[in-house]
Each structure stands twice: as C-alpha cells, then as structure tokens.
Amino acid sequence: METIIEAMHLNKAYNDQVTALLDVNFAIGKGEFVALLGRSGSGKSTLLNILGGLDAPTSGEVRIDGRNVDFGDRKALIALRREAIGFIFQSFNLIPALTAQENVEYPLLFNYHEKAARRERAADLLATVGLADRAHHYPREMSGGEQQRVAIARALVGDPLIVLADEPTGNLDSRTRDEIFDLMRRVNRERETTFLIVTHERELGKRTDRTIELLDGSVVS
C-alpha cells in the first residue's frame, strides 16, 4: 500500500519543559481509516495539528504524500492545508454567519475557485452527507449531528488526500455518534480519502482499520 502520512522521530516540547510528543514514528497508507487513541493530554491533538501543518514539531519530520513538510515555509503550509488536508473539529466549528451551503463553500473561497464551481461542489457534498434539504439553514438552526455532517462536507470540499478529525463525535450522543462515524467510513470507502480520527473512545477504535495509541507523547501500539 502506498504510504500517505509518515511521521519520523517527531518530538514536541512546549517551552523546552513540557514534552507533548516523544519520538513518534508511524506511517499511514493511502485510503486507510485509522483511529488515534489516547487519554486527554497524551499528545493526540498536538500530533494532529502538526500533521495538518497548524503547529510545528520541535524536531523530526513529516512526510505527506511522499513530500517532506517544511514547517518554516508558511506558504507551503497554507498550500498543504488548502490542497491536501481537511479538518473536522470536535465542536463542529462552523461559521455562524454562513448557511450550511456557504460553510461548505467557504474553504474554496481561499482556493480561488469560480463561484459557480464552488456552489456546485458544495451542493454535491451536502447531498453526499444527506443534508441537501438543509443547504440554506444556519448552524444555529441545525442539530449537533447535522452541524458535524456540514463540517464533514466542508472538510471534503477541497478534495483532500487526508481528513484529520479531532474528536469528531465527542460532542454527540451515542446514536448520532454512530451515524457520523458511519458517514466518515462510507466517505472513506467511496472516495478513498485517508482518515485519521482522534478519539479517546476505545470502542470506536475497534471499528477502524487500525489504531495508533499514544501514551504520554509516545506511540505504544
């Protein structure tokens, strides 16, 4: 299988004291559906932010799609976020002033797509996540599950290689949690988009291709 994410000897320390990551090594293949397990404070979010180019490691290297990420090159990091990465957050983090449709279109605004193309693509993705009829609703008019579906559509709109999801079901009840999880799994199978899902729920880990577990900043399994 082709490797799409490669983490090599990643270390992250805050203020030279608190160690968040300690020599983290792993590789994820293209189209894999992987859970990143660990208790809170184990460095999961830090790792996710580094992989998404939002944070820089203290040392070590990240390879995305065979290319080294240069954490000193801001433009390259922005391009990485625009082209290769989709983010899903725990608290959905939709823009309150925008409708579902506009929220999904929003990342394409910074990707400089034509308006008609943006609209069409966003509409397609809303249909994919089963929210075609909610396109013109604002986040406050939608349930948590619906908001997270919009967020998934938004993460997919730029056609990323990798979706990084930080506790995407953390704020949802168990039934909605399963729906969202299934939706991500379906997208993963249909589009062959690689998913790396941070969660602290072991049970969810069992329903992924494989799990990477962090403990105190190190990979334990």
């Binding site: 932010n49 922005i78 983010f87 925008l98 910074f110």
Partner: protein, 407 residues
C-alpha cells in the same frame, strides 16, 4: 479574476455585517457625523467662494488679459512680433493688440499712466465704450481718458473734451541735465466707467508713444481678449507658458481662490476632528469583532485561508462601514449645509454688512458633486485605515490557540 476575488471577500464580509447591523450602523454613524461636518463646512466655504467669484465676474472685465514682458531665468522675454504671433495662436484668444506703457506727468504735476494703443486693433481687445467723444485717430497726438482720470483732470486742471492735455516729457541733454519737453494731446474721448485699470489711464496712439520714447519699436505688453470667461485660466496658462506674465481681473479670482483655499482647509481641518473620533470608533468596533471571532478566524486559517485572506476579509467589513458612513455622511452634510443656508445666512449677511448684500439673495453654501465624492472617499479611506490594525491583529492569530481558546 481580481474583481471576482474582491466580490468573494465582500460577500463573505456581508454576512458578518448583516449579523451585526446595529453595531455596524452605529459605528458608521460615527464616521458619518465627521463626514457631514466636513461636507457642511466645506460647502459653506465653497458657497462663499462661488459668490465672491461670481461677483468679480459680474463687476469686472474678466476676459481681458494683458500679457507683459517678464524676466525668466535672468533673460528678459521681450514682446516681439513673433511672440505676438504665438499669443494669437493660444486657443480661445479672440483678439489681441500690442501696447506701449508710459508714465507721463502733466504740466501741473498730475501723474498720468499712459497706454499707447493701436487705434485700429484695440477695439476688439478692450471693447471701449465712450461716455463722451470718440476714438483716437491713428498717428495723431490725441488722447482718450479713462473715466476716473478724466474726472480728476477736469476738476483740478479744467481739461474738457476738445482741450489740449499738456504733458511734460523729461529728457536729458548732453551734460546729463534734465530738460522737459512739452507735448500737447487733444482730448478726443472719455471712456465709460469700467471698474478696472482703464479708469485710470490715458490712451494715446502707439506710434506716437514709441516716437516720444525715442523711436524704439518694442512693445510693453499685449492686450488679449478671451472668447469665453471659462477659457480665461487656460489662456493665462498659455501666456505663462510663453514666458510672459499675465495680468487682469482674473487675478482677483486667483486671490479669492487662494484665500478661500486656506479658509476651507482650516474649516475642514477643525470639522475633521470629528473624523478622528469616528475612526477610533471603527478601530474599537473591529478589534472587538476580531476578538469575538478569534475561534472563527482560527478555523478560517485552518481550512486554508492565508493571513492575507484574513486581512482582506476584515478590511471588506470595514469597507461596508465606510460605504454606509459615507452615504449617511453625505446626506447629513447636505442637510447641515441646508441648515446653514436657512438659519445661518441672515446672521452672516448681517455681520458682513451692505458690501456683501448680494449674498442675501444667493445660496451661501454650495454642494458640488466633487464634495460629495470627497465625503465618500474620506469615509472609505478612513474606515480602511482604521481597519488595518484589527485586520493585522486577526491575521497574526495562531490558528491552534485561536481554535482552542477562542470564544
């Protein structure tokens, strides 16, 4: 492409603005009051300028200009036949006539400013109207007097139409001693009152003047008639372009303009203090707005916005504040200007006294399209400048901390 991007930013910002209508409106009102103050006071200045210029146009012969020799770069630009040809070639010059200027004294020591004119060519240039008598006959020692100087000579020297005006011309003999030669000019005409320099001069034949001067063929100036009042300043520029000096009633307008420029600038400056308050309100509103949306900005950056994108998004919001402020400001300014006209005019007219009684019937404020555009431009420019700090602040947020800690 760039327009498309701009529209995208504006559309995205429009959503934010629409969500906080009241806040945006109140902030825009701050700028609007400043703009209204500027528009109102400048309209008063411009109105007074307009009335003053109109009064000058009405009272004086604006389209008459005299081009005179000048010293440029150490060399005297003489009025040569070639120069006269170039002057005639300036657009909107309807007629021109070269003149010789002299200063004579009468036998009783009345000072006379003398203009030697070409009796054939002068008619079109100065358009003389005669109170009494008629024009000069070419080549003869005749004189036509301006209205005021004719009155003076009649009162103190008893010179009337048909009389001879006795002139003493001072010459120097071989030993350098002054010798006065007496020359008599027959008074053949008196001009009507013109309210310009021609009221004070004596017109004589140009050839005679040159002969009395010792046979020099040079001219001292060219009287130019411009075909339309609006073309006067263009012709003045043309004359200056030839290295000559231009004089005439237009100089009064220039003085009024210079004075009013300063007055309007000072008025606008004090009125503009209100704009500083408005600008600070925008800074405050946008800093608050950016703070409230810390998390949202973090997300925007996480999903692919560059810091520049964030700057443009914030500035686009400021642009709306500027547009709204500009429109309201212009409307308030027009209202303010109307109020000055209605309530302020009686007071101003009373203070200025009878000299400016023409103001009583006229609008003392003047709103020009340019002034409204200026008001709009001030509002927009100011709101963009005020938005710069909040925008840069927003663009420097760290996405990770913004998303984690943002409200």
């Amino acid at each position: 492409m760039i327009v498309g991007r701009l529209i995208d930013y504006l559309m995205a910002a429009a959503h934010q603005v629409a969500r906080k209508r009241m806040r945006v409106f109140l902030t825009a009102l701050g700028i609007a009051i400043g703009v209204a103050a500027v528009v109102g006071t400048v309209s008063l200045g411009e109105g007074i300028r307009y009335q003053a210029v109109e009064a000058i146009k009405e009272q004086s012969d604006l389209t008459l200009i005299e081009a005179t020799a000048d010293i440029r770069g150490g060399a005297i630009q003489l009025i040569t036949p070639a120069k006269i040809g170039e002057l005639d070639a300036i657009p909107h010059v309807a007629a021109s006539s070269a003149v010789v200027r002299e200063a004579y004294a009468t036998k009783r020591q009345t000072y006379l400013e003398v203009v030697g004119v070409d009796p054939g060519g002068i008619g079109d240039a100065i358009r003389p109207k005669y109170l009494k008598g008629e024009s000069l006959a070419p080549g003869s020692r005749q004189a036509v007097l301006g209205h005021d100087v004719a009155e003076t000579l009649q009162r103190y020297e008893g010179v009337r139409l048909g009389d001879t005006v006795p002139i003493l011309i001072r010459r120097y003999d071989e030993d350098g001693m002054p010798v006065d030669e007496e020359v008599g000019f027959t008074l053949v005409g008196v001009l009507q009152e013109r309210d310009d320099a021609f009221d004070q001069v004596m017109l004589i034949d140009r050839g005679v003047a040159q002969e009395l001067r010792g046979g020099e063929a040079a001219f001292d100036g060219v009287l130019i008639r411009v075909d339309h009042p609006d073309a006067v300043f263009g012709v003045v520029d043309g004359i200056k372009g030839l290295g000559l000096t231009a004089r005439g009633a237009f100089q009064q307008i220039e003085s009024v303009n210079r004075l009013m420029d300063v007055v309007v600038l000072i008025l606008a400056f004090f009125a503009g203090v209100a704009l500083i308050v408005g600008a600070l309100m925008i800074v405050n509103t946008m800093v608050t707005s950016v703070f409230e949306r810390t998390r949202e900005i973090g997300i925007t950056m996480a999903i692919g916005a560059s810091p520049a994108d964030v700057v443009y998004l914030v500035l686009a919001e400021c642009l709306y504040i500027g547009l709204i402020g500009g429109v309201i400001g212009d409307l308030l300014g027009v209202a303010f200007s109307g109020a000055i006209n209605t309530f302020g005019k009686p007071f101003i007219v009373a203070q200025l006294g009878d000299t400016f009684s023409t103001f009583a019937d006229a609008e003392i404020t003047l709103i020009t399209p340019g002034l409204l555009v200026l008001g709009m431009a001030i509002a927009i420019a100011l709101s963009l400048v005020s938005g710069l700090y909040p925008a840069l602040k927003a663009s420097h947020l760290n996405p990770v901390t913004a998303i984690r800690t943002g409200v």
